[in-house]
């Protein structure tokens, strides 16, 4: 598989791959990193938002 890197398109077999994730109340996030001879040449991240700002409006009372 070809990976876009700071050195151009490279086959992933030439690169060291690291990945990780975090899952909490706010987000589920995954990331992929590719290294060439120890140098980071690609990093992508994918954040799924889980907790968003919520506005609770108080209904007006007449009278």
């Amino acid at each position: 598989m070809l990976i876009t890197t700071t050195k151009g398109e490279m086959d992933d077999s030439l690169l060291e791959h690291k990945s990780g994730s975090v899952d909490n109340d706010v987000e589920y996030t995954t990331w992929d990193e590719y290294y060439l001879n120890g140098e980071l040449v690609h990093r992508s991240a994918h954040v799924t938002l889980k907790k968003t700002p919520f506005t609770d409006l108080i209904g007006a009372t007449l009278g």
Binding site: T4, T5, V26, E27, V41, S44, V47, L49, T55, L57
Partner: protein
């Protein structure tokens, strides 16, 4: 002070003056097209919060492949509302696709997205925060929550 996830207070007042149009079928506006909403990214040292009233390039991320102002949000969902009781209800809206910054290099850590209305003088809607990220020759994707009364990206509720 760090970025803080919040709905922008100015947005609440602007709703009452029909400033923002999320819908393609809004009789309050003469044009039957929704406004254009955009999503900009901000570095971790920015201070966006409920007091943010408008998009600003100050402390916005910069780097290869990223244009100031961010990207346009895909909006094929008109806002929806539903009653939660005989005296209360929820109005809600979520973009219809993920927000994607393609093939960018953003070396300064960022943790915030500002949703704003580029059709209405860049007025702010809400501030969304997440874990600090950097991107190197890659994509940054924000997947939207489900468009429901409890998880939608923008929710207004009465109690």
């Amino acid at each position: 002070m760090a970025n803080q996830q919040s709905m922008c207070t100015s947005f609440l007042g602007e709703l009452l003056s029909s400033t923002h149009n999320f819908s393609s079928a809004n009789p309050a506006h003469t044009a039957s097209t929704a406004d254009t909403f955009k999503a900009a990214l901000y570095v971790t040292t920015a201070t966006l919060n409920a007091s943010t009233t408008v998009y600003s390039a100050t402390n916005e991320v910069s780097g290869t492949g990223y244009s100031a102002g961010g990207v346009t949000v895909t909006n094929a969902n008109n806002p929806t509302s539903t009653n939660s009781s005989t005296t209360a209800g929820v109005g809600y809206w979520t973009p219809s696709a993920s927000i994607v910054y393609s093939t960018v290099t953003l070396t300064t850590a960022f943790d915030t997205m500002l949703l704003y209305n580029s059709s209405q003088s860049n007025k702010a809607v809400a501030v969304y925060t997440f874990g600090s990220q950097t991107i190197t020759a890659g994509n940054f994707t924000l997947t939207m929550p489900s468009n429901t009364t409890t998880t939608a990206l923008v929710r207004l509720s009465t109690t």
